[in-house]
């Protein structure tokens, strides 16, 4: 029964405490759950309940998200590449040798970078509202990007 509870843990990656939710038996197929903005691993709370009897589920919070540490931008580079490096080290440190990747929102840019670099880790992709194509950028997102671009030019 114990294996069917959800654990709330953290590991230290280069001085940053990375929080993660973990559930299910380690002998079962693994699913790495990567979420996005403006949320955290809490996105997966219901899905974990549904799947924890059949899979080993791992849902980390990126630095600056959820319950992970949020070092200042002077101490940690908040780029998608650097967050991917942190998640790659996280995966290696907790001993995941292969997993099904659930990529939601920012989980796309992080997960697809990791998959391109370490394809041997990826058993399958489960993609939900994440993007990898120019034609996939919706009006809502384009407006936000334009706003940021203008904001940058003004400052």
């Amino acid at each position: 029964m114990n294996n069917f509870k959800v654990s709330y843990k953290s590991v230290n990656i280069d001085g940053v405490n990375v929080f993660y939710r973990e559930a299910g038996e380690k002998s079962k197929p693994a699913i790495l759950l990567l979420g996005g903005f403006p949320s955290s691993s809490i996105t997966f709370r219901n899905l974990i309940e549904e799947l924890k009897g059949d899979y080993h589920l791992i849902a980390p919070d990126y630095p600056g998200f959820g319950n992970s540490d949020a070092p200042s931008p002077n101490e940690y580079e908040y780029s998608f590449k650097n967050i991917t490096d942190t998640i790659e080290k996280f995966v290696d440190q907790i001993g995941l040798k292969g997993f099904n990747l659930y990529a939601f929102d920012y989980g796309g840019p992080v997960g697809f970078r990791l998959a391109s670099k370490r394809p041997e880790l990826i058993q399958s992709l489960i993609i939900q509202n994440a993007n990898a194509y120019t034609e996939g950028i919706g009006e809502g997102f384009a407006a936000a990007m334009l706003f940021l671009q203008n904001r940058n030019e003004e400052t």
Partner: protein, 123 residues
């Protein structure tokens, strides 16, 4: 980031607003209200253009490795709409696609159905 701003992601395109639990968005508000978090998230959002520059790399990964793929999608998402889901089929023509009548946060309304999709897909 205001509560109203966060709720846009959860409610725009949702099928039934009564099915959106406040648990997630209130937790998001609490997390984003910590000192320095707005700056961190603007930094990261500004870095999003680095992803657009990587699209061809990822598309090449999809095309050459052909990972088994399941697409589950809130089709009313204004950020990454239905067209974003269908674009993956260009390089992953065997991918399985399920569209749901909901928002960006599709798991809020459709976690049971998506869990069932995952179980069938991984079996």
């Amino acid at each position: 980031m205001t509560l109203e701003g966060i709720k846009v992601f959860y409610f725009t395109g949702a099928e039934n607003a009564d099915l959106i639990s406040p648990d997630a968005y209130l937790s998001d508000l609490q997390n984003l209200s910590k000192p320095g978090l707005v700056d961190i998230h603007l930094n990261l959002l500004h870095n999003y253009s680095s992803n657009v520059a990587e699209y061809l790399v990822w598309q090449n990964y999809f095309r050459t490795h052909q990972p088994k793929t399941l697409l589950v999608w809130g089709k009313n998402d204004p950020f990454f709409p239905e067209a974003a889901a269908k674009a993956f089929l260009t390089d992953l023509p065997d991918a399985e696609l399920h569209l749901y009548n909901t928002s960006h946060f599709a798991l809020e309304e459709y976690h049971e159905a998506i869990a069932n999709n995952i179980k069938s897909f991984l079996n």
